[in-house]
């Protein structure tokens, strides 16, 4: 219930945070909202010797438009993502996700960057951000680099980020005209984390057929998985309920989820199909409304 002892340093710039990370090496961890790290430390599943606080670094919060990209500071909390007018206008699917993470209190503390960096297999943002083709700006010792969501999530709690990099920004390209985005989630009845979830970005041609489909699923693997067969199936087809259902039926192909005390693997695969359909339907509806 009480974390093991550690040292605490408040960083005042990203550079300082990177320096501190480099200095303390393996034993140090960045602290953002702390809503994954502190619970783990309380149960002593994690015992870093040094915490480097990013919350004290100015300029890492908020949502802004950067050309055709929505740029979200890594330290922006979920509640602020959900209530951002920019996000509401352009990326309702991201609002869907930001509104179903944990609970009110968690959404007031947890940060989008922390969620991405932590790469919990039950997390919401990795899934929707994969569907939205987001990319992540990382700041190593010098300069910065950008990694696409598709290449970022490597394994359970493992990302393409190096140990001494800081995630500073989440960049989401604005969907083309005629697009809709949506995210639906089956939460675990106890933890509230993802049992299965589906995020969709659908671009609809004026003719009504599908110009682009990106669908990502949560809960089926070590991180978000793209429903490639579903996406291919939709490509160029009219977005009728039948087409959507047929495409969604292929969502769980090639996935091999693990059963747990709540849901069996079969159930997860089945729900993935249902929720993929629901996410696509919701995205299509928004595309039509836009």
């Amino acid at each position: 219930m009480f974390p093991a002892s550690f040292g605490y340093v408040a960083a005042h710039s990203v550079e300082e945070a990177v320096q501190l990370l480099t200095k303390h090496g393996e034993d140090a961890k960045l602290l953002a909202g702390g809503h994954s790290l502190i619970p783990a430390m309380k149960l002593r599943l994690a015992s870093p010797r040094t915490l480097i606080d990013l919350a004290t670094v100015p300029g890492l919060r908020g949502v802004r438009m950067d050309g055709n990209t929505l740029a979200i500071g890594a330290l922006t909390v979920y509640a602020d993502v959900a209530s951002s007018e920019l996000v509401q206008k352009h990326l309702p699917g991201l609002v869907d996700a930001a509104s179903v993470i944990g609970d009110v209190q968690v959404r007031n503390r947890g940060t989008i960057g922390g969620s991405i960096a932590h790469a919990d297999p039950g997390a919401d943002f990795p899934v929707i951000l994969t569907a939205l083709n987001a990319s992540f700006v990382l700041q190593p010792r010098s300069g910065s680099r950008t990694v696409a969501a598709d290449d970022f999530f490597i394994d359970f709690y493992t990302t393409a980020m190096a140990a001494n990099e800081v995630l500073t920004e989440i960049r989401v390209p604005l969907p083309m005209a005629g697009s809709g985005t949506a995210y639906v989630k089956l939460p675990h009845p106890a933890s509230g984390y993802v049992v299965v979830s589906a995020g969709a970005l659908i671009t609809r041609q004026p003719s009504g057929s599908c110009a682009l489909a990106r669908v990502a699923l949560g809960g089926l693997g070590s991180g978000p998985v793209r429903a490639v067969a579903t996406e291919t199936e939709l490509q160029g087809k009219p977005l009728t309920p039948e087409v959507i259902a047929a495409a969604a039926a292929r969502a769980a192909e090639e996935t091999d989820p693990e059963g747990d005390t709540y849901a069996s693997a079969e159930y997860k695969r089945h729900v993935a199909i249902v929720y993929t359909r629901r996410a696509i339907e919701a995205a299509v509806q928004r595309a039509s409304a836009s």
Partner: protein
């Protein structure tokens, strides 16, 4: 000795219920224990070790948060309101009153957290629907009341506050 320097205590300044406090805390001190044991504000309770129950809910810079999942050092320079800070000159906050009026508590252990969550809810949404109230309480567990009267209590308070955002 090296370890002691490495894990050195950290000075913090916080304003709690309008009173400024300065303290030096071990980094591993959780905010809820700082409030309970350093400041003797025992209204925020601890009901779990996985951040689920919400009994420890307080307001940090005007937002409802779980004080068991925040380090005291993270609250440096923050404004905190706990359940003890709601009443004004002995007059209960309408939400507190509502809980009594509508029997929104039994054992009372979840109550401070429920009240703090509800106060925040009404600050952002002065006229919540029943649905919104229930959704707003998803981070708070009560094992006694079945929530029904808690929802009623919050509705009562919303009405009493006239659907107005009583910023405090």
């Amino acid at each position: 000795m090296a370890a002691e320097i490495e894990f050195a205590a950290v000075p913090i300044k916080v304003t709690v219920n309008g009173v400024k406090h300065e303290a030096v805390v071990e980094p591993r001190t959780l905010l809820v224990y700082f409030l309970r044991e350093h400041l003797n504000l025992t209204g925020a309770h601890v009901g779990c070790d996985t951040s689920q129950c919400g009994a420890c809910t307080i307001q940090l810079n005007g937002r409802a948060v779980k004080s068991c999942t925040i380090l005291a050092v993270q609250a440096n320079e923050a404004e905190i309101t706990t359940v003890e800070g709601l009443a004004r000159e002995g007059v209960l906050h309408p939400v507190q009153e509502g809980f009594r009026e509508k029997h929104g508590l039994q054992c009372g252990y979840c109550t401070p957290g429920m009240i703090m969550t509800a106060v925040s809810l009404l600050e952002t949404n002065p006229n919540p629907t029943e649905e919104e109230i229930r959704h707003g309480l998803e981070g708070n567990l009560c094992r006694c009341t079945g929530y029904i009267n808690i929802v009623e209590s919050i509705r009562w308070a919303a009405e009493k506050m006239g659907g107005k955002n009583v910023s405090r």
